[in-house]
């Protein structure tokens, strides 16, 4: 058996420790650091949703700002223009995100590989264009301000626990999903679409369903973001958001839910704290993009795995026993 950082008893222990840490975090962290972690958790939901497609199914979407943004805008419009309560606005936000995803996925799934990237990117511009120019509905450049949280989650700490609970549930649901036979089919599609098709799987339908789920949960994170930030404006829907979401997935390690969470955590922390050290945050973020792509294509989780494998190999070498079945990590998607 080789050591895998994502398996074994110690994982249970680490997960428990992480949960306890998150649960007691607001007791010792400043209010500011609590809000930073709220951002991290909301973005973790977005990153996990995206990872379902990018990491598990091999569908690299470059337009997740669209689904995130649709959820955010729909909830804000309902809350501010139509004075809806939180549950109703949440419902409309999720519905809107799913509706947009349902249409966009139809168009995008006709393509694969780099064309899929391009098309999802282009479709997301459509949503941005509407957000930016449809003034009477979206407020245009001004955006929509004044979204109020309901009383039970009005406080920073209360909202933190609320978001934490949702994030944990989403994580658990996704974890079950990717281990189900449905999830294994997705990974089969990632490795070889044609083989799965020969085996009689409806590849298109699997892709469509995972796209819908991904859009739904991206919408959820968008709704939560609006209730965290109390406003929504076009920069939230622009290509920067789509790219950042992808970077979070790549940074942590695609194809692992923990990686997506880790990526979101590190990226958002960095965004909030990097200016303590330097004014050149653009360069810092740029270097993260370049470094991750060149040196850690499988993200942090991938690095840990490699490290573990190498140690394992050294141990094996001592025992003079060769290992024939070293699992090869896949590179790229083409």
């Amino acid at each position: 058996m080789i050591f895998d950082p994502l398996r074994g008893r110690w994982v249970t222990a680490a997960a428990a420790a992480a949960l306890v840490f998150l649960a007691v975090y607001p007791w010792f962290a400043s209010r500011f650091m609590v809000t930073v972690l709220v951002q991290c958790l909301i973005m973790a939901i977005l990153a996990m949703s995206l990872d379902l497609m990018v990491g598990y199914t091999g569908l690299a979407s470059l337009g997740h700002a669209a689904y995130f943004g649709t959820g955010a805008y729909a909830a804000a419009i309902m809350s501010v223009h139509y004075k809806m309560g939180f549950p109703e606005a949440l419902a409309v936000g999720l519905l809107a995100a799913v509706a947009v995803t349902a249409v966009f996925a139809l168009v995008a799934l006709r393509a694969t590989g780099v064309y899929f990237l391009m098309i999802t990117f282009a479709l997301a511009m459509l949503v941005w264009g509407l957000a930016y120019r449809w003034n009477s509905m979206t407020g245009g450049e001004n955006g929509i301000a004044g979204v109020q949280r309901p009383a039970f989650i009005a406080g920073t700490t209360a909202f933190y626990y609320f978001v934490l609970a949702i994030a944990v549930c989403v994580f658990a649901f996704f974890a079950v999903l990717v281990r189900s036979s449905f999830g294994r089919t997705l990974m089969g599609i990632r490795e070889s679409e044609s083989r799965m098709r020969t085996l009689g799987y409806n590849v298109w339908l699997h892709k469509y369903i995972i796209f819908l789920l991904s859009g739904l949960f991206s919408g959820l994170s968008g709704v939560l973001w609006v209730y965290y930030d109390s406003l929504v404006a076009p920069p939230l829907v622009d290509l920067g958001t789509s790219f950042d979401a992808l970077l979070m997935v790549s940074l942590g390690g695609g194809g692992t839910l923990v990686g997506a969470v880790l990526g979101a955590l590190i990226f958002k922390m960095m965004e909030n704290l990097v200016n303590l050290f330097t004014d050149r945050w653009l360069t810092v973020v740029a270097l993260v993009y370049i470094t991750v792509v060149l040196l850690a294509p499988q993200g942090i989780i991938g690095l840990l795995r490699d490290l573990a494998e190498r140690r394992e190999a050294r141990v094996k070498a001592f025992g003079a026993a060769g290992r024939a079945d070293a699992p090869a990590r896949k590179e790229g998607s083409r």
Binding site: S30, F32, G140, E141, N142, P235, V274, F277, W281
Partner: protein, 419 residues
Amino acid sequence: MKRALVGLSVLAAALVLGLILAPRGGAAEKGPIRIGLLTSKTGVLAIHGAHQMAATEAFKDKYGTTVAGRKVEFYAEDDQRKVPLGVTKVRKLITGDKAHIVMGGLFASTGYAIAPLGDQYQTPIFVWSCPDDLSQRKRFKFVVKYFSCSQPQHAMAHWLRQNKPQVKKVIIFGPDYAFGYESSGGFQKVFEDMGGQVVQKIYAPINTVDYGPYIGQFRKDADGMFVTLAGPQALRFPKQYQQAGLRDKYVLVGNGTNTDEFALAAQGEDVLGWITAHIYGGAAYPSKDNQEFVTNFKKHLGGKDPGYYAEGYYGALVLIYKAIEAIKGDVENKAKFMEALGRTKVTEGMPAGPKVSDGYGNLNTNVYIRDVRKDASGKLYHHVLHVYEDVTQFWTYKPEEFLKQPVYEKDFPPCKFCQ
């Protein structure tokens, strides 16, 4: 691989360090007074951030970093000209840096977005930009602001009717968000109340690249234009307007941002003769206070002239110090601090003349009508044609009457003469 691991561990170490350092200050009860500054150091409006940081340095030179016997610390944050990020940064300044007051907000839309945070955290916010309604119908307990977008433009309309009565039919052109609507609305209201007619209103998104489509729509039967340009528009529009051969077609008046010093050198001859109204007379305005400010400012920005983006930042800081002095440095009592901010009055040392609180969270101020001229060395500057003194945000209307109408919006005042 090894290099990557080293890189990542450095990153991780930096993050941990950040976590430890993050809740700066805050511990000592009566430590320094912390002023949070919000500006744009990167993004499309990075130039304004540079001007405002230089203005802050010029301010420190003159007024020091001690006020009412307490040390003052400044925390500057960059919103990258993104409204949502501005909100995040203000939240950070208040909860993370424990700022006693936050000042800034480059855009009217940023102002509207950050204002609710003042009441939420019971912390004063000095909105440096000009969203009208924050001192009119949508007032917040913990928010004051520097001026109203429409405030100088009421005067612009008055001046135009008085001095160029032959201009009767005017086209309004502006950026498609609060700043454009409120500036244009203020102009339209007074202009039409004085017998003029606005015959066309066109709003373009701030990031418009090619103005051809808009310029092509300008009505040929109009004789004047009221133009508001924000950020990058100030560079692109004048050039394309000139290239379209419209220079002598319309009498062009507009907002002071059109020819602000930050862009003036780059704009060149295209804006020669443009008439604008603003709360600042320009870097060349010969008052003693202004010239002292300009000299100070230039030291911090490679000899460049300050415009209103710099003057406003500087002026707001003077007012904040004044309020702190009034409460003898007791900024921890935020209600008292807020109250003092709401009744400041500074008559001396201000580059743009006296600033007096009007009791609505706004300042009465001078409005300068300027045109752009060229001096002997070929450098462009603002020549002040007229100064309206002590102008309120309500112009000459009664506040109660004024507040009965809605805030200036895209469709308010309605365009009665647009056919």
